[in-house]
Amino acid sequence: MLWIRDSRGRWHATRTHGLSPSANGGEGLLWLELVPPLDRGTAWIDVIATGRSAQARIRLPLSRK
């Protein structure tokens, strides 16, 4: 289960739109829709995955071009 917390402290649920597993099975690309969507000024997001014995969190900086 993946939840997103943005740089303004707001939570977002995720809806999975697809998973592209790689040929070697050790990784994959996950297409997620964030609900509600992020604001344009969001500086970073924390992606939080929770399992039975641990919680993994990764901070991703966002940039716009």
Binding site: M1, N24, G25
Partner: protein, 343 residues
């Protein structure tokens, strides 16, 4: 977790649904509902590891066999001498004959170094059908190969050439909103840029691969969550992301959008009862109550949550991070202060 009690709960549910089907005057919707209810609870118990897939399939198969036999009896009563099964009964029996395919687990290989480059460039072109744009989001290279992540999909031919003059074939993977553009063969990690162009010979767009992003550190916190709470957290996310919830105005939702009600139904209450019976959810867990509060707040009545579960939610307190202090659940934050946490 008590696997024996979980299996007993599932068998008792199947027996109860079978008794209900026996008293039902006609086949059809009540039977399909019973099948769906059993499938939902079985899926929940399998998801938390309380019942293995084979046992759940066997219980459902027994249930379907009993239903099919009863249907055959009704058929023979109505049409003496005709021994055939109805299409529905035939389908049920055919499902019994199917054996679940064995899945082969993928073997993870040692992780190769990643190369991640934010691109943020648009390949533009114009042809007889009008203006054409393909936004390239990022370039990713790993053990799985090299690819661009793309917002959208367009099957028009592209050419890709690196700074050394080597060209690559393109393969598309994904849907219409987002897809991957895979490069074959795998480019060397040392290349500095890629030129991407339409095959029609238009000017190429140069993608600079130098501004690489170091892979962010992953922080892992050891803490225990019951499998039942994780499953309910997942259900909360499904509810919130179902598309039927007006997330810009959670305080004034419509009285339960039809598709959201259909997703929720009585299912959550059945799932909680099964998780409690299996010992996969602590009796004092506040998460069922938080989900009940979320459903109530979203205007979804009839979700089947036990009233006692609702009362337990009063003990939950959103922490500074927005997750509940007592259980770490984002559901608590969403249920407690939806405007502040989710909007």
């Amino acid at each position: 977790m008590n696997r024996e009690r979980a299996e007993t709960h599932l068998r008792q549910l199947a027996e109860a649904e079978l008794r209900r089907a026996r008293t039902s005057p006609a086949p059809g919707a009540p039977r399909r509902r019973a099948d769906a209810r059993l499938a939902l609870v079985a899926q929940a118990l399998v998801a938390v590891g309380a019942v293995d897939v084979g046992t759940a399939d066997q219980i459902r198969a027994d249930f379907e066999a009993a239903i099919a036999v009863r249907q055959l009896g009704l058929l023979n009563q109505a049409r003496p001498g005709q021994r055939g099964l109805s299409p529905e009964a035939q389908e049920r029996l055919a499902r019994l004959m199917r054996r679940p395919s064995r899945r082969t687990g993928a073997v993870a290989r040692p992780r190769a170094p990643w190369r991640i480059v934010p691109v943020g460039q648009v390949i533009r072109s114009r042809d007889d059908s009008g203006r054409w744009e393909l936004p390239l989001v990022a370039y990713v290279q790993s053990a799985g190969g090299a690819r661009f992540t793309v917002a959208g999909r367009d099957a028009r031919r592209l050419t890709v050439v690196d700074d050394r003059g080597a060209s690559y074939q393109i393969g598309w993977l994904g849907g219409f909103d987002a897809s991957e553009l895979r490069l074959r063969p795998d480019p060397p990690h040392q290349i500095r840029w890629l030129d991407v162009a339409r095959a029609s010979g238009e000017p190429a767009t140069r993608i600079d691969l130098d501004p690489q992003v170091p892979a962010p550190e992953v922080t892992v916190t050891r803490n225990a969550h019951s499998p039942g709470e994780l499953l309910l957290d997942f259900i909360a996310a499904r509810i919130l992301s179902s598309g039927a919830v007006p997330l810009d105005d959670l305080e004034h939702p419509p009285a339960g959008a039809a598709d959201l009600r259909a997703f929720v139904g009585d299912g959550p209450g059945d799932i909680v009862a099964a998780l409690l019976a299996a010992g996969a959810l602590p009796p004092a867990s506040p998460v069922p109550g938080q989900l009940a509060a979320l459903c109530d707040r979203l205007g979804i009545p009839g979700h089947g949550w036990p009233a006692a579960s609702r009362q337990r939610m009063t003990g939950s307190t959103p922490g500074e991070s927005g997750r509940c202090r007592c259980c770490g659940s984002a559901t608590a934050a969403a249920a407690g202060t939806p405007r502040a946490r989710m909007a």
